[in-house]
Symmetry: D2
Amino acid sequence: MSYEGFTRSLLSTIKNFNLFRDKSSFKGIGKLDLPCSVIWGTSDETVPFEGHKEMQKDVENLFIQNDKLLGPPNLVIYNPSARVRGGIAEVDPVETQKAINITCFGAFLCAQQAATRMLKRGSGSIFFTGASAGVKGYPKSSVFAMGKFGLRGLAQALARELHPQNIHIGHFVIDGGIHADHRPERKDPGDDSMLDPDAIAETYLQFHRQDRSSWAWEIELRPWVETF
Amino acid sequence: MSYEGFTRSLLSTIKNFNLFRDKSSFKGIGKLDLPCSVIWGTSDETVPFEGHKEMQKDVENLFIQNDKLLGPPNLVIYNPSARVRGGIAEVDPVETQKAINITCFGAFLCAQQAATRMLKRGSGSIFFTGASAGVKGYPKSSVFAMGKFGLRGLAQALARELHPQNIHIGHFVIDGGIHADHRPERKDPGDDSMLDPDAIAETYLQFHRQDRSSWAWEIELRPWVETF
Amino acid sequence: MSYEGFTRSLLSTIKNFNLFRDKSSFKGIGKLDLPCSVIWGTSDETVPFEGHKEMQKDVENLFIQNDKLLGPPNLVIYNPSARVRGGIAEVDPVETQKAINITCFGAFLCAQQAATRMLKRGSGSIFFTGASAGVKGYPKSSVFAMGKFGLRGLAQALARELHPQNIHIGHFVIDGGIHADHRPERKDPGDDSMLDPDAIAETYLQFHRQDRSSWAWEIELRPWVETF
Amino acid sequence: MSYEGFTRSLLSTIKNFNLFRDKSSFKGIGKLDLPCSVIWGTSDETVPFEGHKEMQKDVENLFIQNDKLLGPPNLVIYNPSARVRGGIAEVDPVETQKAINITCFGAFLCAQQAATRMLKRGSGSIFFTGASAGVKGYPKSSVFAMGKFGLRGLAQALARELHPQNIHIGHFVIDGGIHADHRPERKDPGDDSMLDPDAIAETYLQFHRQDRSSWAWEIELRPWVETF
């Protein structure tokens, strides 16, 4: 498997349970040059994807392409986000709009494509990777706050809309750094003070497998020593 | 005074207290054809404004124009919002992005222009008109949820960033219909079951006049009989 | 006027608006030795009150006594609270139960007496002084968290129950120190970094006077420089 | 196994994973006549328990008794709650205080005994069964709101205090009816519209087994068709 970090963890965890068949990671949605994880099927072939000019078109194409290869998805996970750090007077408006598009509007586009297919079949899960910035607006972080609060609003509205139609929505508030062996600054510190991507992936899988008599729509995950 | 509804109420209330000098209502920011209230000065002359092609340019121009006429604003209120009703599978992505821009990104643009000027002077208030959709995601309302949750994230982040710099942020969660005599379907029912725009405006003014030893950043307003 | 600090501020502010007639401060409810402010009428005579053995009896007697002197109250404010600091393994269970009684159960008792009278007349306001500990559970503060979260639950439930019966509920989240000239460690620092009791009292009065078309049930107040 | 309903589910689920050794269910804490589940060890022997006059004494004795039989607990779950339905003017104050004691103060007492033992050993989990009444105050339910909001405050404060000491806190917001085959009015409707106690128990177990790099402190569980 050629994936790394959290994406790799999601795939490994899912494979262990023999539930899924494929995953597609693609860059360059609307030339934004950020990876987006969309997971379905039960193997881990890569669905090659080339970016298009417009984000909306790209997402549509991704789903159409995968329809042919793999059929309608069981589980779609939207991970991408972008932040622009700085005080309100300093941040660039163009970068700000791009960040909102990646963090929030792209999630809407993927959710729309996923929901259309899942409603037809009558089942599925759509999960969103959130952040503590989605429940608390931090200073010098107003751009990320817009994106992540907006994402959470999308998830909560969809939970109320789609749960009664047998489509499970999940919003995961990740509060802390995720360790990633392929990034030197993110090495596992060995004391569980950074989130283990396998542990997060296990929680995603638990949500996907939850009995529909007892669905959750949100969970906050943070290291035991994290201040909150 | 030629204004109507909530805008008229804001202006009237403010004039009664002799605190402000002007207000500009403009249409067509980025050709979105929605009014945006920006209030400053102490009279109610209208600042004529013609929309430009790009939202960002329009907002910048509005503030530059008013700098010449009135000087830096004491209070800026961002009211505009747009909703696209419907299930996730039905709503139009282009309309959706436009709605996020009006409800959330436009607020960021105005806040940025306002904050730049207020930071220079060392004081001011920036208020955002929110909705119950910003604290609760309703079914068939995921688009409005993204916009209003995002707006609330912006406001909360700015409160943490700008309060210690003597700039007061307010987020007003309006939960219920506002009566408006110029709209037949919004006539005052006479039993206080719809929000009186004058009453809302009074709360905005109270926030603006709050002693900085006891600032609030948010309040929810709803009719006494409203279910929540 | 013989009152001091926040109680004095509440009375002064209210007198300026000529809305009320009296106020009773009493100690020793159930021998808890903590003052409780109950405000009604339009002057500031003191209603003398001697504590009884049981909290419930004491509160009943207080209201019965004031019925004779002043009639049914327009506004009842419940201020008392008690905290027991320390880690969960250290705090004394007897002190803990006492603290829950003062912070939360006493508020229920006063609210019950107030509501019974206000429902008969068809109007009134019942306000509760909360704290940041009621919306965020801090470490080594689990006892205060139980009391203040419980108080907030009471207030929110009563807002949903009593607003449609024309009784206005208010919950005020005070986040920061209130300066008090009669306490050396609480002297006004002169930079608005502690809450001015007059400013808090003004917000209470604004709530009491809110048009019922636009009622709030909660507001957070903190100094401009307070971290949150 | 002689247990029924949710308690049986907790025990069955836990036994399947061979993690625990015992469980004690006891009635009559402080003569309140409500069962309290405290789970530890790895079998399901019953620890016989006779109630004492005072709640505090009872809880202490329960833990002391189990110390001898089973040693310090790995996992303690506090389930009991009591509600008093009715408008604020109708509910009985004595029943109200009893309900707060059962729902909230008893949880504190058990948490204190559990934490004392777990801090000594350096590990453990303390879980609280909450309700939607702990995050939303419903009309005619002010008594339950006080108890369940208070319980949530306790849990959140303990999460901040004890997580960094390697003790995991969990607060489970159960929103909906739990089906129970031994209660005629709670028969499984067969359409997953009531919470399956086995599914809830599985989530409790997942929390207990969470990697400490990715701990959650709260989750909301409700049937797919439940309105929220």
